[in-house]
Symmetry: D2
Subunit: 85 residues, 4 copies
């Protein structure tokens, strides 16, 4: 995972969230606000996917070194956590 | 929907997203990052719920005035859009 | 909502779930099983959407008759329940 | 993953889906139907989680044998597929 890529994605999300505040101030329609909320949610999903990808690779590499069963359990647990994003 | 309440919620989300950027900079674990992403996602869900609530009430009130079938279809469509947040 | 349409959809889902049992018996790959689970989940989502559509129309029609605020609150609550399907 | 456990869970889901057909026949409320749909969806989620757990362990074990990078990519892809259940 390129730190720079993720940080840029998060900056865009931050901008979208500020945009949402402006939309509320301007009393934009609920439909427009829900559309924007979906966009922010989708962007966070993508960041979660990239993070999960990195995490999974890390777990497997580490498991290879030390065969610590806990790593597998952590990975399983994290996959379930990821599902809820 | 209190504009002020929603804007405050969005400000908190904005802070959480900045916090995520800091976590990436500090190379916090993927697990910590996914936990924070879940928190942000949950906060957006809540904002979506409040928006949806307001929208639904508005649709019903307006429908009562003009019995425009389009309002019902818009509401149905928006409920599906809301599901995807 | 055509009762017949929904029941046919549910029959198809029932068949898909039996298919999943067969896949487990035959020790098909987890990847194949997850693909089939996604298909079943998608079919249930669609049934939920059709049910929600019907429900929403019913609420609005009834509200028009008696202006019972509870109907609005039930609708809001049901929209949130629908989101979790 | 105990095949027997998963098959029993799928049999229960099959029963729930038949129950839903009966609910439609009996013209139960949309709210009751959505509640039942949520229950079925939750049961499928759990089956997906158990399948994913098994799959992940399998991938890691196999990766250890042959260090085939494709296994990692398949796992990442399957995690994303799992998210959509």
């Amino acid at each position: 995972m390129s730190k720079k890529d993720i940080i840029n994605r998060l900056r865009r999300v931050e901008g979208q969230v500020r945009g949402l505040q402006k939309m509320i101030e301007e009393e934009r329609t609920c439909s427009d606000i829900l559309t924007q909320l979906s966009a922010v949610s989708g962007a966070l999903q993508k960041i979660g996917e990239l993070t999960m990808k990195e995490y999974t690779k890390g777990c497997i590499m580490e498991y290879e070194q030390n065969h610590n069963e806990d790593l597998l359990n952590d990975l399983i647990e994290t996959i379930s956590k990821f599902k809820k994003i």
